[in-house]
Amino acid sequence: MRVILADDSVLFREGLARVLEAAGFEIAGQAGNVEELDRLLAAENAELVILDIRMPPTQTDEGLVAAKRIRHQRPQVAVLLLSHHVESHHAIDLLSQGTDRVGYLLKDRVSDLHEFVEAVRRVGMGGSAVDPMVVSQLLGRKRARNLVDDLSEREKSVLAKMAEGLSNDAIATALRISPKTLEAHIGAIYSKLGLEPGGSEHRRVLAVLNYLRSA
């Protein structure tokens, strides 16, 4: 899978490149700012862009703006946005444009290389990845009439994985349960929360996040 890296720190880019190359990705190019990124996107036939939310010149949300633009202009390119801190607002903002080929993760996720590489691969293959911190914050929110509290611990774990963008297979593997049991958990979650069942594994990410954020 051909990947473009965009981050204004050369050292971080180099480190990330080596980690991803070791995991079998092909680095199509590296960019230090949005203009370089645009040039690379036009020149290289990349499938995935990994970019930092803060980039020159203002170091605020250039990366976020660029990510939304790339998803609009080149829907076939997957985009993974990295940041030193994550906000549910940005996650929903990104996913609202479409829940496939998109990811939003904390930079420190590289502390667990296996999970990080899995998330990168998931996004590159057309899925989505929402940082567990966004999900746990929303899941832990205190609510007036807290339907989430009615869920069992196992069901909560399943809900969290769903919100992170994992597929059923991946959830079953991660939680070491059978696909059958998982189906049962998901059914229970939908009915307890009053959510409309159905929707593809990608689409449900936004529905679950929106539910957790607004309920």
């Binding site: 980690v19 170091q59 605020t60 030193h84 549910s88 607002h89 502390s111 205190k142 954020r213």
Partner: protein, 591 residues
């Protein structure tokens, strides 16, 4: 000029109309029904009126040329003969009897100068000074041209009469001289009229007011002269018509102008009475805000402004304490500085046309001086308060900038370097695993874990210093984000849109502090945050269902919050009682 000299001069000037009247009225003695002495009025009245008004004006304001000009016009009318009036004055007739041809010569050469003086007066009234270069040029040209053309006319006419050789040429020369003279006078008359009209239209309200009486007196003069003299041409053969009578009587209307001047003088006396009214108002106590309107109405200049000198700040300010700069020298606004110029109290800024009435302005200024000094104290307080307010706003803004800078330094520095280090450790661990060096891999794993915790703590720290979401997405997402991290239930409602960064920061910190306080002290379960924006104000309202008891005066973070909100021109209300929890309401002006 010494007093006795002046008195002598006035006596001589006064003697002239007296003498003329005496000579003229003698003809009507003894009076008969066919020739009543009244018909001598049109000969005597205009000249006498100008002379008398001129004397009054001159003794009133010796430095103003208006008086002298009027005296000259008056004597000119009494002595001279004019192409406009087309009749010799009575004194001229008498003098002709005495002096013969020499007097005729004098009259032809100088007899029309009074008309030039009249134009001079119209262009220079009321200051006595000619404004534009064109005004000065025209008047100077006429003063020179009238005697010169008169002299030429005398020379060529005398040549013709004495029957000098080349009679044909002389006749043609005579014709040429008269025609040229007539054309030049006509052109000057038109130009002069245009200049007078222009002067009226460019004049400010105060100058128009003082010009009015003289300018309006031109209307009856023009109305009487024009038809009367046209009639002279077209009805020349008619022995006696109404128009001819009117033409004979038309000089009478010239007397309107000196009469107008006297009215204007009376009115400026009345202006002095209005200063008396001002003084009465002052003694009844005028608020500082009422000073400017009172002065404006006394001086008849609605555009008048009072500005106060602030010695501690070193600039002029208006009543609200806002800095004001005085108009430049050549601007259409005039300035009177009150008090010692090195340490003034205040200054009056007014339409420059009021300069003509400097005595009136000075008197009014002297009357309000004490009140202005009192008002200045108030203005100075306001200005200083404003300064303090601004400096507080600058301090808060500087502190916010500093927070942003520290957060960015953390982000670009420590956070980025630690994450990069995390990657290096991961690569090292991968290498160790490749070498089946389980011990190193174990150590590296531990390092990675503690580094991850360090990063998490650093993230919390950076967020506390300055939440980037506030800049990235605005107040509402930032408050929602606060709520998502809060151990109590937080319900966020309303909509506010994007605001100026300093306003977003002020309202954000109110919400953040209120939520923190509620979690720490309220013992409640729920927090409601409502943001809103209406009629130029953005607000945030935070209510908890706890035990209440928050008190701004007890020196919690609430005092700092209140200062912070005030620094951007807003206000913070805290309501907290034992039964109903705590409510904070902050609102800031957002234009």
């Amino acid at each position: 000029m010494k007093t006795w000299q002046r008195s002598a001069f006035q006596a001589i000037v006064l003697a002239i109309p007296a003498l003329v009247c005496f000579v003229e009225l003698q003809q009507f003695w003894p009076p008969t029904f066919d020739r009543p002495p009244l018909i001598a009025l049109d000969d005597l009245l205009p000249g006498s009126a100008f002379t008398l008004a001129g004397l009054i004006a001159w003794s009133n304001r010796p430095s103003n040329r208006v008086g002298v000009l009027m005296i000259l016009i008056g004597i000119g009318l009494l002595l001279g003969t004019s192409p406009i009036l087309l009749q010799p004055s009575p004194l001229a007739e008498t003098l002709t009897l005495v002096l013969g041809n020499w007097w005729s010569f004098f009259l032809v050469v100088f007899g029309s100068l009074w008309a030039v003086a009249l134009l001079h007066l119209l262009l220079a009234f009321p200051s006595g000074l000619l404004g534009s270069r064109l005004d000065r040029g025209l008047v100077a040209f006429l003063y020179l041209a009238v005697p010169v053309l008169g002299l030429i006319a005398v020379v060529v006419t005398l040549s013709r009469l004495s029957g000098m050789t080349g009679g044909d040429v002389v006749v043609r020369l005579e014709f040429l001289a008269y025609t040229t003279g007539a054309l030049v006078y006509l052109a000057c008359l038109l130009l002069g009229s245009a200049l007078i009209v222009r002067r009226w239209f460019v004049a400010g309200s105060a100058r128009r007011r003082s010009m009015a009486v003289v300018i309006w007196s031109l209307v009856p003069i023009a109305l009487a002269f024009a038809p009367a003299h046209l009639a002279r041409f077209f009805a020349a053969d008619a022995s006696s018509t109404l128009w001819l009578e009117l033409a004979k009587g038309s000089p009478l209307f010239l007397a309107v102008m000196p009469a107008g001047y006297l009215v204007a003088m009376l009115r400026s006396t009345r202006d002095l009475t209005s200063i008396a009214d001002l003084v009465v108002k002052l003694s009844n106590g005028l608020l500082p805000a009422e000073l400017q309107p009172a002065l404006a109405s006394t001086l008849h200049d609605p555009s008048l402004e009072v500005v106060y000198w602030l010695p501690t700040l070193g600039w002029y300010a208006d009543l609200e304490g806002r800095p004001v700069s005085l108009p430049a020298q050549d601007s259409p606004r005039a300035v009177s500085v009150l008090g010692d110029p090195a340490d003034p109290i205040a200054a009056l800024v007014y339409d420059s046309s009021l300069r003509d009435e400097d005595r009136l302005v000075d008197t009014a200024a002297a009357a309000v001086r004490l009140a202005l000094e009192n008002a200045r104290l108030q203005v100075q307080l306001r200005a200083q308060l404003d300064e303090v307010r601004q400096s507080r706003a600058r301090l808060v803004e500087a502190a916010d900038d500093e927070r942003r800078r520290v957060e960015r330094d953390l982000h670009d520095g420590a956070q980025q370097q630690l994450v990069t280090l995390l990657l290096s450790l991961q690569l090292a661990k991968a290498g160790a695993l490749d070498r089946s060096d389980a011990q190193s891999a174990q150590v590296l794993d531990e390092s990675i874990e503690s580094l991850r915790q360090a990063l998490a703590e650093l993230r919390m720290l950076a967020r506390g210093i300055h939440p980037t979401i506030l800049v990235e997405a605005g107040l509402l997402p930032a408050i929602r984000s606060l709520g998502e991290r809060c151990p109590m239930e937080v319900e966020v409602t309303g909509e506010v849109g994007r605001l100026e960064p300093r306003l977003e920061a002020a309202l954000y910190y109110v919400a953040a502090e209120a939520i923190t306080n509620a979690v720490k002290h309220s013992q409640g379960h729920r927090i409601r945050v409502d943001v809103g924006r209406s009629s130029g104000w953005a607000s945030v309202d935070i209510t908890d269902d706890g035990v209440g008891g928050a008190d701004v005066s007890k020196g919690s973070g609430l005092v700092g919050l209140s200062d912070r909100v005030a620094a951007v021109g807003g206000r913070l209300d805290v309501r907290s009682n034992q039964s109903a929890g705590t409510n904070l309401h902050a609102e800031v002006p957002c234009g």
